[in-house]
């Protein structure tokens, strides 16, 4: 592993902290995922309803087309109050991540928290998880696609997996 003091890490190289974890896999969950339950209230429920229906839906300004995440009452770009929930492609790239090894919950296996940059808009980012992949996949710019996994309380969570050619 390079110890270059400055400059980007080499492409396709896992970070030094993850070198020993290279073989660690993040399987597609087979049991319902149980962390915290989203409030799914006024202003956020359409996101979770979309996920349960197998769609990644985000708030979008009807006037200027800007996607607003997290959703707000007005478009922060043009001020329009005309926001609608629209499905997005669910395609994006890995922007940043952390491999969680501490079992914060009983029986919790290692997993990968992922900050995903969605293709639709330059600043459209979603915190989620990378699944169906491994530490060896991790790099900035890794193409990913949404996959919906079952969670407790009849919810589904939009996670992401590497796009396989």
């Amino acid at each position: 592993m390079s110890s270059t003091p400055r400059g980007p890490a080499a492409p396709n190289a896992v970070t030094a902290a993850e070198e020993e974890l290279r073989g660690l896999r993040f399987p597609l969950p087979t049991e319902p995922v149980r962390f915290f339950r989203p409030e799914s209230g006024i202003g956020t429920a359409p996101f979770w309803q979309g996920a349960s229906a197998g769609e990644l839906r985000l708030a979008r300004c009807s006037a200027c087309g800007y996607f607003v995440h997290p959703a707000g009452p007005r478009c922060p770009h043009c001020g329009s109050a005309d926001l609608t929930w629209e499905p997005v492609s669910g395609r994006g790239t890995l922007f940043a991540w952390t491999v969680s090894l501490q079992a914060f919950l009983p029986g919790l296996q290692p997993y990968c928290v992922a900050l995903v940059q969605l293709d639709e808009q330059e600043d459209l980012r979603l915190t989620s998880q990378l699944v169906d992949g491994s530490v060896a996949d991790l790099r900035v710019g890794l193409p990913v696609e949404v996959v919906f996994v079952d969670a407790a309380d009849d919810l589904r969570l939009p996670f992401f997996r590497p796009v396989r050619p």
Binding site: F36, S100, V113, S128, L157
Partner: protein, 393 residues
């Protein structure tokens, strides 16, 4: 120009600090407050204001929030003309900045400021709470349902982004923890004082990459207190008053853990920028720094946010640890920081800055000039900075 320059910290106090002290937050607060008031050469009857972070009130969390201002007012039978407990503002420094504004505007003359935590005794945090699958709303609705349930996840993402962007090595990052531990060895109240080597650090288990055990601070019980007075009134205090040269309080980007335009430039950078806009001093004038180290990566980012080095250059700045050592050009977290001395949640760093400026830090006293100290508190969506001085008028 900063109107806060006429405010001064004239008294400081700190309770017992430790891992499970088994004492109430109110008990610890009264201990620290009593010490600060005596240190200021005052009596409780002189105190006419209270400011704390984050205070009691509706969002109070046991162990984290500490007792509210009204509880302390009652316990100490204080008579105050102004008081506040507020969690929103320039990080944990909110309470000190509020106190400065109160004495400058004349709402109060001598404000008791405190921050109290009993997190070690209460063991608050994700472990117990998540097991009951509670509902989260607000900003956390976009993090916690996905498994981003701990601050180590929020900052692990930021840290990895920094690593991939700037090539920060584990050896460079380790210097924050190693320096803190070396300094903690000279602080009798520090929670962890045993020597820590680079080998220990590199062998420690990962919590969430790239942050290992020693990159995470330690929950503690303890209270830190100050008396903030108008600088004119502080002239006759028994200890050297510490002047508030400037405060960094700005918020210019999107305050969240994951939505900043650049995850490695957050609220702390806004705080740092606004700090330097309000003073004629420059980073080169700073003699020592106390930069928030709830996680080591925050200290890395604070070095850049405060302008001690350029963006992406903190790794080089930290390399080898020479610059940030007690006898280096910028002694850093001289009491051991939160990583080794315990998470007094920001205000412990201010207490140490005052001790150093007053020349009362004992074995760990910075030997070179110690007239200007920089403090940074917070990370992610919150950040605040203070420039504290003695001797420069």
């Amino acid at each position: 120009m900063s109107g806060l320059r006429s405010a001064a910290i004239r008294g400081i106090g700190q309770s017992a600090v430790g891992r499970r002290l088994g004492r109430s937050g109110l008990d610890l607060t009264v201990e620290a407050a009593g010490e600060a008031i005596a240190d200021a050469g005052l009596t409780p009857s002189d105190i006419d204001g209270i400011a704390t972070y984050p205070g009691g009130g509706f969002g109070a969390q046991r162990g984290f929030s500490g007792p509210g201002a009204v509880e302390v007012q009652d316990a100490m039978r204080l008579t105050v003309d102004w008081y506040t407990g507020s969690g929103e503002g320039p990080g944990q420094l909110n309470c000190l900045v509020n106190a400065c504004m109160a004495v400058v505007t004349g709402l109060a003359r001598n404000v008791l400021v405190y921050r109290t935590v009993t997190e070690a005794t209460e063991q608050v945090g994700g472990r117990g709470a998540a097991a009951t699958n509670p509902v989260v709303g607000g900003p956390l609705e976009w993090l916690m349902p996905f498994g981003s349930i701990s601050a180590v996840h929020w900052l692990g993402v930021v840290a990895n982004r920094y690593v991939t962007q700037y090539g920060l090595t584990r050896e460079q990052l380790a210097q924050v923890a190693l320096t803190a531990r070396r300094n903690a060895g000279l602080n009798p109240k520090a929670v962890y004082r045993d020597p820590l080597t680079l080998e220990d650090y590199l062998a420690a288990r990962m919590i969430s990459t790239p942050l290992c055990l020693y990159d995470c601070d330690v929950p503690a019980d303890g209270s830190t207190a100050f008396v903030v007075s108008h600088a004119d009134a502080a002239a006759d205090s028994p200890n050297l008053p510490v002047r508030v040269e400037a405060a960094g309080t700005a918020l210019r980007g999107r305050p969240s853990w994951d939505q900043w335009a650049s995850p490695t430039r957050t609220a702390m950078h806004d705080a740092g920028a606004s700090l330097w806009e309000r003073t004629d001093l420059t980073p080169a004038d700073v003699d020592l720094a106390q930069l928030y180290d709830g996680f080591s990566i925050l200290t890395v980012l604070w070095l850049e946010a405060m302008g001690f080095c350029g963006e992406g250059e903190a790794g080089e700045f930290l390399a080898g640890g020479r610059r940030i050592a007690l006898d280096g050009e910028l002694p850093l977290n001289t009491a051991g920081g939160q990583l080794s001395a315990g998470r007094l949640h920001g205000l412990g760093l201010v207490h140490e800055a005052c001790l150093q400026l007053r020349g009362q830090a004992g074995e760990r006293q910075v030997r070179k000039r110690h007239e200007v100290a920089a403090v940074g508190n917070g990370g992610g969506p919150i950040g605040g900075a203070l420039l504290l001085t003695t001797g420069l008028g």
